[in-house]
């Protein structure tokens, strides 16, 4: 089972040295494991540290951000122990990334073909120009774009097409892992759906694993195998997606986030988001960062921070004093929050 784990992060801490006062702690003690071929979703709102985590997982942090603690291993190899050359050998070929600003990730002054060329020249110096062109055309065709588009400049492509080009580039050297940070957020729903279908089809064909980072928990419920929910720099729930999709979310934040997406087709159930707003990461709180917004809060939550602990069967972790008292079969204890869990995706 452990052989299956491709990318593993443990105790990852990322801080931003802001130069004034205490550094901002954007990611705290995060652990995730990505298995071969799976799609791991990371959900959270702006400022929760999910993008910073993506940069940490790919060793792309730039000052003032730095990895303050923790390890990231790719197939057992410590990513942060690699020298420049070894890291270059890993990038694109084994681990690639689709950025949040992918629509602007292409160089506007040169053609799509030249940008594919750059990748091959840097990583496959033995390839001839003809081979490079053929491979680039093949990649474009794979994501549903006519190979003649290699001669196009980015501005001649629509947003959706640019996104496909960026995904084709990330897959150019057949990596094992692709980290995608909000890859479809800027797109219209119909185009988003086409790109997601494309990713799923390519995953079936090529077998790469994906870490898919987004604020859209609703979307992850459909496409991910496992799910980590982040809040204020920490993972607060880590579970099989099916469990969460079936109403088994354990953390009150996860439940609140689910509730924040009204059902397109379902009943007009209670339309509440989560009161309050996410905390300022610069301010350290002794207790649970979600306590002020939590409907299930108890006294202990403000005094003592709950650790991410195993709560039930299978992959089922939550960082919550209240969730911990839920039996895994959700045969309920008579607390207010247990009633809500039982009631389905509240």
């Amino acid at each position: 089972m452990t052989d299956d784990i491709l990318l593993a992060a443990h105790h990852v801490d990322v801080v931003y040295d802001t130069g004034e006062g205490t550094p901002t702690h954007a990611v705290r003690d995060v652990a995730v494991e990505l298995r071969r071929g799976e799609l791991l979703g990371i959900a959270g709102e702006s400022g929760c540290g999910k993008s910073t985590l993506a940069y940490a997982l790919t060793r792309l942090l730039q000052p003032p951000a730095r990895l303050a603690a923790g390890t990231v291993t790719l197939d057992g190899q410590d990513l942060y122990a690699l020298d420049r050359e070894a890291l270059r050998a890993v990038r694109w070929t084994r681990l690639s990334m689709v950025f949040q600003s992918a629509m602007n990730a292409l160089n506007p002054v040169t053609t799509v073909g030249r940008q594919f060329d750059d990748i091959f020249r840097a990583h496959r110096p033995a390839m001839t120009a003809t081979e490079r062109r053929a491979k680039a055309g093949e990649l474009l065709d794979m994501v549903g774009i006519d190979p003649s588009r290699l001669r196009s400049h980015p501005h001649e492509l629509s947003g959706g097409m640019r996104q496909r080009v960026v995904i084709a580039m990330a897959l150019a050297l057949d990596p094992d892992v692709v980290v995608m940070d909000e890859p479809t957020t800027a797109l219209d729903v119909v185009v988003q759906r086409e790109i997601l279908d494309e990713i799923e089809e390519l995953r079936e064909r090529l077998g790469f694993a994906v870490i898919f980072i987004t604020h859209d928990l609703n979307l992850l419920l459909e496409i991910s195998d496992r799910l980590a929910v982040m809040y204020a720099g920490r993972i607060v729930e880590y579970a099989d997606t099916a469990r969460i999709a079936e109403g088994g979310a354990l953390h009150p934040y996860t439940r609140g986030l689910l509730r924040s997406f009204p059902a397109l087709t379902g009943d007009r159930r209670d339309l509440r988001g989560i009161p309050g707003q996410p905390p300022d990461l610069r301010l350290a709180t002794p207790g649970c960062a979600f306590a002020d917004r939590c409907e299930a809060v108890v006294e202990r939550c403000r005094a003592q921070r709950p650790e991410l602990e195993r709560v039930g069967e299978g992959l089922s972790w939550a960082a919550c004093h209240v969730a911990r008292h839920h039996p895994s079969d959700r045969q309920a204890v008579p607390t207010e929050s247990a009633g809500q869990t039982r009631g389905g995706p509240a």
Partner: protein, 340 residues
Amino acid sequence: MTTGTTTPAALEVDHLTVDFKRRGAPSLRAVDDVTFTLHPGHTLALVGESGSGKSTVVRALSRLVAPSAGHVRLAGADRTRDAAYRRAVQMVFQDPFASLNPAHTVGHHLRRPLLAGGRATRSDVDARAARLLDAVNLTPAADIARARPHELSGGQRQRVAIARALAPEPAVLLADEPVSMLDVSIRLEILGLLDRLKRERRLALLYVTHDLATARHFAADVMVMYRGQIVERGPSDDVILRPRHPYTQLLASAAPGAAGSRERAREARAARLAARRARPAQPRETSRHAPPDEGCRFRPRCPLATDRCARRPPVVPLGPTGHEARCWLHVDAARQGPAA
């Protein structure tokens, strides 16, 4: 009109058309013959993807762009040029980080429209501003009034923007993607606030969004816009749960959560992929540009398009609820409908 209400109209929009001139090219028709009515105490949602023209409708109604044809009547009167219209029709913009002036306090943002609209005097303006902040749940009002925008969260800023829009006591509120820039967990709070204000103040609310789910939950009626035209409209459950125009059907099926479960989402995806493989001749990268004719603008993407779609599609009523679609497909069915 599609609403079954008998209340007098707050704002009537009649055959609104907006053209943008382009250098070296024929002008672009961003809004094409759009007609609808806003009623006090009711929300109408205008749904569409980027580039559909929905923001241009809002900009035309707030007189930020000049329409090239059509009429807008406020409470029955054709008087969009006077100051009373500007006070009565207020906007909430998408980006609360850009719509507030960083140099001014929250109090300043509210005092100006209160004084300019004659809704307050120098002596009671602070009390009135505090009442507005209370109305949008920004408390303690005195502290918030002293704050500048950068000291507030996105959700708080949008509440300030809403309070500012309420200052001239408008009859009509145009909310253009009011929550899409905000964090997921606070969106429903803001939409709930708009919903409550609409009820309490009998506002006629136009909710412009790309999100079908919130349109369905917060609006009684929905209009779907595609490339400048309203292609479908009606009570929100009719339009979103039982869409009849092929574009609305595509939009509704593509939305996250549309399938209802993981299982059904997987089945739907398998069906989509199979359909795509079955049409290998048609490149996936189809032109999304409508041909420059009177025909249906969706037909280059429409799986059900036929020859007659090259003619201007008629607006077809689809039953007694006011549900209508602008599509040739429904012409025959509608003709047979009343007889059957």
